[in-house]
Subunit: 492 residues, 2 copies
């Protein structure tokens, strides 16, 4: 018979004693002190040995029996059950291949890879006050109850009114709350692509945010990249693609595009609207950065310029306030919002209401506007630091964009440098960024890279770009050294 008298339990622990006992017996088996077929002491006996109530021991045995660990035989006692034969299920045969998502190595101290604001500039005190007001308010019970797929009604009404007042929404438009802009893109892909029988074409900027690419690739869209220059999308390429492919939709980030930081000029905005209307092309306008303008004049959104109602506008609080709270929204004609709400209900019923209520009060109280003013000041400094450091430290022949806002800029290294190889050297020195191919549906942009400066202090930005420059120089030296070692071509 098994000896369990050495087991010690902690009566002060929050784990119930019967569970502690069951766990101890399991461990004795796993370390080999108890073997298959061994009989356990009777409950009364073990209770006496360990100074426990007998029901505690019974409960432990019952738990172990239910999970197949013990076998009880009436009148004969409880025995350690034979380990069930483990035909371990072979998941790899039924699962899709694992997608590689680049993750910076643990030792990264200057991270240009993540497009996000700096946590040290969060207005924590204001957030605390606002949250306190929300949880103390009489609406708390409503916030905690099951909500609507369209969003928390007070926030939805506030955003709809704001959108109407600024000419973004017209009377025929409606609004749905999403978990940030990522879910907005996903819902759009579900409504417009998943249900299509044939694989339809989608125009996107090239390079473009990798999370956008992945959403539409997964939905089976035929993705066509349209080159982006400093004034945004190349509209001749758009017209050409329309003529050849009759695409269903164009997704565009007119202000401070991710990854290039480029802004579509007013002339191009007007022309794009015309082109889209003529072609019956749906325009999805991803407008999550436009409030982060550091220099230059604000431009109207495509949605404001639109006259035929074919623009779907995405906005979000995540980039301009707290990315950990997932609240974005879509403004579009009513029939579109009705379908998006159906897709939202299937996806996750509705967005979390506590954050919706907190962000509503954050916006209504004017705290969001004050925070934006501060964010523009710090953003301008960071952008300036990044551009100065690029001039000083990047190797000769590098080019980079000169955004007027946002969180990212785009660098092209001179040949024969590849962004991925320079990255490997950077990461050894604690600096990370995302290499160009991630922003392409065709693995292009091998010399390109995105520098997201939004979350870093100016001195980190300067130091990080200096290390990038030094890493690029080492890589170049290594390439040249290797070239010298190559045998010369045979003369024939």
């Amino acid at each position: 018979m098994a000896d369990l008298s050495q087991i010690t339990l902690d009566s002060a622990s929050s784990t119930p004693l019967y569970k502690q006992l069951a766990d101890s017996i399991r461990s004795l088996v796993s370390v080999g002190s108890l073997r298959t077929g061994e009989r356990l002491p009777a409950t009364r006996e073990l209770a006496g040995q360990l100074g426990l109530n007998r029901t505690t021991v019974s409960a432990a045995y019952e738990m172990l029996e239910q999970s197949g660990f013990l076998q009880g035989h009436v009148g004969r006692g409880s025995f350690i059950a034979a380990a069930p034969e483990m035909h371990s299920f072979d998941w790899e045969t039924v699962l899709p291949p694992l997608e590689h998502t680049p993750a910076p190595t643990a030792a990264v101290s200057i991270n240009f890879a993540s497009s996000r604001p700096a946590a040290d500039s969060f207005p924590l005190e204001q957030f605390r006050q606002i949250s306190q007001q929300v949880i103390d308010s009489p609406e708390a019970a409503e916030i905690l109850q099951l909500g609507s797929s369209h969003g928390y009604a007070p926030l939805r009404h506030y955003l709809l009114e704001q959108s109407r007042n600024s000419g973004v929404a017209r009377d025929t438009d409606d609004l749905i709350i999403t978990n940030g802009c990522q879910q907005a893109l996903d819902l759009i892909a579900r409504v417009f692509f998943d249900s299509a029988t044939a694989s339809q074409s989608l125009l996107v900027e090239d390079p473009v945010y990798h999370g956008l690419l992945r959403v539409f690739l997964r939905a089976g869209a035929n993705i066509i990249g349209i080159p982006v220059d400093e004034a945004g999308l190349d509209l001749n390429a758009v017209e050409d693609a329309i003529g050849r492919l009759h695409p269903r939709m164009l997704v565009v980030t007119p202000s401070f595009q991710n990854p290039t930081g480029a802004t579509l000029s007013l002339d191009r905005r007007k022309r794009l609207i015309e082109i889209a209307q003529r072609a019956g092309l749906i325009l999805v306008e991803n407008d999550i950065y436009s409030e982060l303008r550091y220099t230059g004049k604000p431009l109207p959104t495509l949605k404001q310029l639109d006259t035929s109602g074919n623009v779907i506008l995405l906005r979000s609080y995540s980039k301009v306030s707290f990315p950990g709270l997932r609240v974005g929204w879509i403004v579009a004609p009513r029939p579109v919002i009705a379908r998006l709400a159906g897709a939202k209900q299937i996806s996750d019923l509705h967005s979390d209401q506590l954050s919706q209520a907190v962000l509503l009060r954050f916006a209504e109280s004017g705290e969001l506007a004050r925070h934006l003013t501060r964010s523009r000041d710090t953003g301008a400094e960071r952008l300036h630091a990044a551009m100065s450091a690029c001039s000083l430290h990047l190797p000769t022949g590098s080019t980079w964009t000169r955004p007027e806002g946002g969180m990212s800029l785009w660098v092209e290294l001179p040949a024969p440098l590849l962004a991925e190889n320079v990255l490997a050297r950077c990461e050894q020195r604690g600096v990370s960024y995302l290499a160009g191919p991630l922003f392409s549906s065709r693995d292009a942009h091998r010399r390109g890279l995105r520098l997201s400066f939004g979350g870093l202090a100016p001195q980190q930005i300067t130091r990080g770009i200096q290390i990038m420059g030094e890493s690029a120089a080492s890589e170049l030296a290594a390439i040249r050294a290797e070239a010298r070692l190559e045998p010369v071509a045979a003369v024939v």
Copy 2:
């Protein structure tokens, strides 16, 4: 020239004056007081008339010009632009058909249609204290920053440890946080069905939660309903379906199934595990109600009984605490969680972190356990009220399930009554429920209906079921009256 001197602006408003002015001009056009082609006063002139700064007027004109409302001609002034030709975009040609989602009419006062807890039993004071602690904690800044697709790390670790301690998770398992159980189902459908080239079979309970049906229908699964009796799934039907169809997966809610309230007996649980292991069938265990047991003995989960690692377990805080906070989780072998995290990142990056932090503290502090104890007491009362009222008020020949927990029971009306027709009468008297066909992939269960009692007080439940009985009686009388009016069959 247009006369704008009557415009009045509110200098105390938070809307900037230039925007107020632009809005006023827009309204004058929309009411017909200003017409296409009319010239507006020069900025200096209008500024004088209205007592405004000239830059305010310029800003308003510029805004209107940018949105195409005004046309400026250098040296000649600004004119109301001709309304652009509205080729209104035809959305209905590009959108999928609108799905009908049943929504109770506005006048419903006793709503059996929604499976949710009662708002008046929310522990609001405890929620407020807990939330206050979270927002005051040093972790607040971390909560507000961009998070992980796997979930907020402290909550994830807490849940993983809990799952390990209770034998639900083994060492080869991992855990991901989702926006409630709805998103968990959606992510599973994305990983296991969307990527499959052929349409694979999925076994589900019949009747089954409509939100589950919609997720997998959308993903293109071939859905096979398996009948449910008081002891849960009919396992002979499962074995038969396996033999005929080689299904990929079975989704099952072993405890207090939605809509029937049925619980899979321990014997059937063990046999189901064996069947699934032998057939290489993936089991998805939806375990969101098991903590709401009012009578009878708790049973081990399939995940605890499983020995080959083919069970994916879903749990959620939504049903047992606050449905407005969307936090659920999945426990499954590591390769599965890795794919689910990839799907989650595409869907919405990550779940909202404020609610994750609040619910973590709610659980850790013991408040969740205390709330659960109270919920079981109120739930037992409500279930009892529902079953008594069914005995008293439903028409002779009705049958209904007798759940030991959860939030819903299932009623079958006697022929020739149809649940939908009785519902129409109920709604006229302020009572709503969901009719059976919604819980079927084949529009079956026309005499069935789900009564969700979780959110209603006992006296509402009694009154509601009384009204249902009376409505059924009226419907029956109407059917009989109509039958008497039918001409008798011709004799030939």
